[in-house]
Assembly symmetry: C2
């Protein structure tokens, strides 16, 4: 039997292989299985439940050095709420699995749970169960169940050529915030990775050579990284206006990656207008400080937990104009997925994004 | 802020503290939150869903040395099915979270998923989603959603003095199987823990000094450990006979521990008749070989995934007599939880059982 490393097929290749091992699901109540932000099944009376699960592992998704436990609790629930929002549903019930190393105290876990409780109150859901086990590293596994009318759910599939591609909020600031936090950690550790530079104390407003950026100048970006607010407000706005997008996905792995997911599921192509992507001033400043292209943060940064949706212009006109930004257009599949740069040049848009087992692919 | 190690409060103490941090759930559709085998919430039309989650961590719950991946997939789902059965519900939808170290191949994960698929087919449920992340050790996090009529669900609470305490199947054989498998591993590693004894090859029918027991003589016990079959068959039998026990819990951590859970939730006491606990001949033989009391396996062994239930004698008479064994009786809370030994002596029954963060407490 061959031994194929998971890194050779990547996260999405692995999901395909495991889906084949499972076989085709056979259940009349199943509306959507593996392959969208959440699975969807009927519960009767024209209602469906949606379910999503996310694992957060220390050292992969978070660093206890600069992520307070209370924020970690908030974020662990929020990333699941984002998947429920990306189905245009309302979160209801959650379970929490905790893998606990022995250097975590009961008080820290209480802070984690206070963050979970705060998020539950904000998003209207309830933690109903869980499991705790000893583990080498801290990890959280959250499963969230949401509900919706069956005909209100929006999937990744459904985008049609001519639709506008729109996003909520701004993109890239969560990744900029992470870089700022990491620079602070490197500052504490006495250098910027090579053990030599950076004599400025983190957050003191001074800056060592390549070292810590002052947190006060990047408060918005840092908050985006630590305290994401999934876009249930937009889902509610659409419901109030009776507007249903054709296709919908949350932006967790970077816009470039999500556009590809949405296009593949819909059987279409897309043109992203690089000059139209909403970017926060702090993202621009962070990119400048780190000597990077702000488009890298916006397209490949990840963790923004905004929504990307395809919608015909006639329907978009029914929405408040400050609730979204147009970033491109859906085209025929043959045209592929491209990026029109601000200078007018059109180039293929590499999916990039963070992929587990292969790591970040920024180009 | 104090730093209280999790080991100081134990698994159940931790769950209490985290429950307080979450606060009281407020939701009219929630029938049962944290504190039973599964949470229960209404989905309309007199129906409820139940949800349970279990984490399995390499080195804590399983050892890849002697647990084939396909069995691991089966067991990971089966332990959740057991919690759904312990609510007297039918499993429907599952999600799978996978933490993957880089020494696991795609082919091994396909075998794991074939085991999951086999279990899904056997138990009538469907895997609808999941998440995969890189991790230091292999871990699985499964959430299972089941369904039932609201008035059919049975909880841990509800046992009344005078009820019979009954179990399905036999107890202790899964733990005996684990000990046999561990003896085989010690045999492979050249000794029984001290690096000196055990020259018999595992499974060859010979036996080294304190070393490996022959697997062929313990096939039933080993299968109970690797391939548990949760008792949906009994839940179905009860439904067919229109019999609803007063209280119900699955035996995952050992009978002694589960009796205490059921009694605490019901506000009652219990007398367990040591001489009535059903024990398989292979469990007796394994105990003899290891120089242990078979009651230790039966009371504290864990992983049997049988059902413990409290039922009035009049209702029990409506069940096929070979589907359960009476192991004791529910008494008033003041009488506590006791064990009547075969010689007639009555002693307090220590809850024991496996508790995470404190480890096994056999006395």
């Amino acid at each position: 039997m061959p031994f194929t490393p998971v890194s050779a097929v990547g996260e999405f290749g692995l999901i395909d292989r495991l889906g084949h091992a499972l076989g085709q699901p056979i259940d009349d109540d199943l509306v959507q299985g593996i392959g969208d932000d959440a699975a969807v099944y009927r519960v009767g009376e024209g209602r469906v439940h949606v379910v999503t699960t996310d694992l957060l592992v220390e050292g992969v998704h978070f660093d206890r050095t600069f992520v307070p436990m209370r924020y970690l609790g908030w974020k662990a629930l929020a990333v699941n709420v984002s998947d429920v929002a990306a189905s245009s549903a309302s979160p209801r019930w959650a379970t929490v699995g905790l893998g606990l190393p022995n250097n975590v105290s009961v008080e820290q876990l209480e802070a984690l749970y206070e963050g979970l409780a705060e998020a539950c109150a904000a998003f209207g859901c309830t933690i109903v169960g869980g499991d705790t086990v000893a583990a080498a590293r801290l990890h959280l596994s959250i499963t969230l169940i949401g509900e919706a009318a069956e005909d209100a759910v929006v999937y990744r599939r459904g985008a049609r050529p001519g639709d506008l591609l729109c996003v909520t909020g701004d993109l890239g600031s969560a990744a900029a915030g992470l870089r700022v936090l990491l620079s602070g950690k490197q500052g504490m550790e006495g250098g910027s990775g090579d053990g030599s530079g950076g004599d400025g104390a983190p957050g003191d407003g001074t800056e060592g050579g390549g070292g810590a950026l002052p947190l006060a100048d990047f408060a918005y970006a840092v908050e985006r990284q630590l305290y994401p607010r999934p876009r249930l407000d937009r889902v509610k706005h659409w419901a109030e206006r009776g507007v249903r997008p054709h296709a919908l996905i949350d932006v967790s792995d970077g816009l470039a990656s999500e556009v590809h997911h949405l296009c593949r599921a819909s059987g279409v192509g897309a043109v992203i207008e690089g000059g139209l992507i909403p970017v926060h001033i702090q993202t621009l400043r962070a990119a400048e400080r780190f000597g990077e292209d702000p488009a890298t943060f916006a397209l490949y940064g990840g963790e923004d937990y905004e929504l990307l949706f395809a919608i015909p212009e006639s329907l978009a006109a029914g929405l408040d104009s400050d609730t979204f930004a147009v970033v491109g257009q859906v085209v025929e599949a043959e045209e592929g997925v491209t990026l029109r740069q601000p200078d007018g040049e059109v180039i293929p848009l590499n999916p990039g994004g963070f992929e587990h087992f292969r790591g970040p692919r920024p180009e």
